[in-house]
């Protein structure tokens, strides 16, 4: 009984917070040390760059207080580096809570930052970026410098967003970090669920489970429907290779694989971010830190 009660308490949606320092490069006071702070609706990311190269970052969940979350994420990125706020020459805030980054010198939209960050992570061949965030999905087109040429976004509906996935992980009691893998474990891909509304999906999923569907099959049907939605957004903005996915859902292999199948195009492979720091989830913060460097240099010239 107590075992069951304990299981009920598990928060399946709760993803791991993490931070990394790539200290093979030592910072000096004369370096251009800049930071990007991306306060999303679900996750807050901070990246620190030295002379335009990733040095450290921190990723944590956004609390109910955006300025506090921004500060915490940046503190975490600086942890163990010896850096203090004063050492940062320029800070750019981005994301849904970008106006609530108190230490930022400037705020820039996350659309520009994700394109810039994707250009840094994968190089100048990137032309289409799908950024799947906590509460919106953006399909972005950019040029070889990472400058945005057009974009489309869905910010009115939780279907397919990170938040929607969290709700589903909780509902099916599958840890959020495993849902991609689990969704791919079905022998045959079921048809997508007919209704993508996350609020209704709760009822629909329970109905399917009662009909005898396995958790994996329900998850596959839902993930498929989400991938169809995202693929439609990409098609509407116009898909041009190379194509990449940023944001939290870039780590959902179930989504990535299905989008590739639906669009018939492979994404550029996710870099080994644990080794080189090029984390697609931090793309927005990396882009912001790059803008910070450019803005700082411009300021120095004046």
């Amino acid at each position: 009984m107590s075992d069951v009660a304990q299981k009920e308490d598990v928060e399946y949606w709760r993803w791991q917070e993490y931070h990394r320092v790539f200290s093979n490069k030592k910072w000096k006071n004369k370096d251009i040390i800049t930071a990007g702070v991306d306060v999303g609706s679900v996750g807050s990311k901070a990246a620190i760059m030295i002379d335009g190269e990733v040095y450290s970052w921190g990723v944590m969940r956004t609390g109910s207080n955006s300025p506090e979350s921004a500060k915490k994420a940046l503190d975490w990125a600086m942890e163990g580096t010896g850096l203090r706020l004063n050492d940062l020459k320029y800070i750019v805030g981005t994301g849904y809570g970008r106006v609530n980054v108190p230490m930022a010198n400037k705020a820039i939209t996350e659309i520009a930052c994700h394109a810039k960050g994707a250009n840094y992570i994968w190089g100048p061949s990137v032309r289409t970026v799908l950024d799947v965030g906590g509460q919106d999905i953006k399909a972005i087109r950019c040029d070889e410098t990472g400058r945005v040429t057009s974009f489309l976004m869905n910010d009115k509906c939780a279907a397919g967003t990170g938040r929607g996935m969290e709700v589903f992980a909780d509902l099916l009691k599958i840890p959020i970090e495993d849902i991609g893998k689990v969704s791919l474990s079905v022998e045959e891909e079921p048809p997508p669920v007919s209704c993508t509304c996350v609020a209704f999906a709760k009822t629909e999923a329970v109905g399917l489970l009662r009909k005898g569907w396995s958790k994996e099959k329900v998850l596959a049907a839902y993930t498929r429907a989400m991938a169809v939605r995202m693929s439609n957004l990409i098609s509407r903005v116009g898909l041009e290779r190379e194509f990449v996915i940023t944001g939290g859902q870039s780590k959902n292999i179930g989504i990535v694989t299905r989008i590739e199948t639906i669009l018939g195009v492979k994404c550029l492979p996710t870099p080994n971010w644990r080794e080189n720091g090029l984390d697609p989830m931090v793309a927005g913060a990396i882009g912001a830190a790059l803008f910070a460097k450019a803005l700082y240099e411009k300021e120095q010239k004046q």
Partner: protein
């Protein structure tokens, strides 16, 4: 002549018994996972209040999302058709009939003869239906039936995301953290939903009289917000949640009459 209408909704099944043009019995049961069984329960209750038995019914018509599961139905009628029938029966001058249930909202436009000419439906999204208010009441830790009276105490509304139940929930939690008052948050929930319904209705044009049917019509908070938003008075029958079943019972009566001829 005695007929019955069975409305198998996503949340509850409603039955209305009609005898020579007046309602003589009503029954209601939660749909749960077995709408057919719920329909039988609601039928039993309605027959009991009417002091009748199943064999007294000359025709039974089903409507609602699960109408295909209705036991012992002689025919079915679309939800829009049932709305139009009931709206005109209750308010002969009705030209715009809005029906908001737990998981769906519809608006039907009728011509001068009370015939349906056009309709719009919001389905597949919980933000424009009763489920939205329910979810927000849960987030606010207020009983569903208290939401309406609570919202009427507010002097202004705090803005929330009305386009999605999932985001609306987080917005409500943020407002609670910011220590906004519960009446103001409740008012925001109704204003937000009224916005959505209003834009849906505007696609048909707002022609008086405007009638509101369905379970959500019982919510004084929502009704106040919708009236403000549409800037027009709204007519609401005494038992709005039974309107679909009434429309089906009226359809059953015309079918029975036709077959007698």
């Amino acid at each position: 002549m005695i007929t019955a209408g069975v409305d198998l909704g996503t949340q509850s099944v409603k039955v209305v018994i009609l005898k020579d043009g007046s309602v003589v019995g009503r029954g209601k049961a939660f749909s749960g996972f077995d709408p057919a069984k719920a329909a039988e329960q609601a039928m039993d209750e309605a027959l009991m209040t009417a002091n009748l038995s199943l064999s007294d019914l000359s025709h039974v018509t089903a409507t609602g999302a699960s109408m295909a599961l209705a036991p012992k139905a002689d025919s079915t009628v679309s939800m829009m058709g049932a709305d139009a029938k009931a709206g005109i029966f209750l308010f002969p001058k009705a030209r715009t009939i809005i029906d908001i249930g737990a998981e769906e909202a519809r608006a039907v436009k009728c011509d001068d003869r009370g015939v349906m000419v056009e309709f719009v439906v919001n389905e597949r999204c919980a933000a424009g239906a009763g489920a939205f208010i329910e979810a927000m009441a849960r987030a606010l830790e207020v009983k569903l039936e208290e939401m309406g009276p609570l919202s009427l105490k507010a002097e202004r509304a705090s803005p929330i995301n009305a386009s999605c139940v999932i985001f609306g929930e987080s917005d409500v939690v943020t407002l609670i953290h910011r220590q906004e008052s519960k009446p103001e948050i409740a008012r925001a929930v109704f204003d937000a939903m009224a916005d959505r319904i209003s834009s849906m209705v505007h696609r048909l044009g707002v022609n008086p009289d405007v009638v509101l049917l369905g379970g959500v019509a019982k919510d004084v908070g929502f009704v106040a917000s919708l009236k403000r938003k549409l800037g027009i008075d709204i007519l609401i029958p005494e038992f709005p949640e039974f309107a679909g079943a009434l429309g089906a019972a009226l359809t059953a009566a015309s079918k029975a009459e036709r077959s007698q001829k």
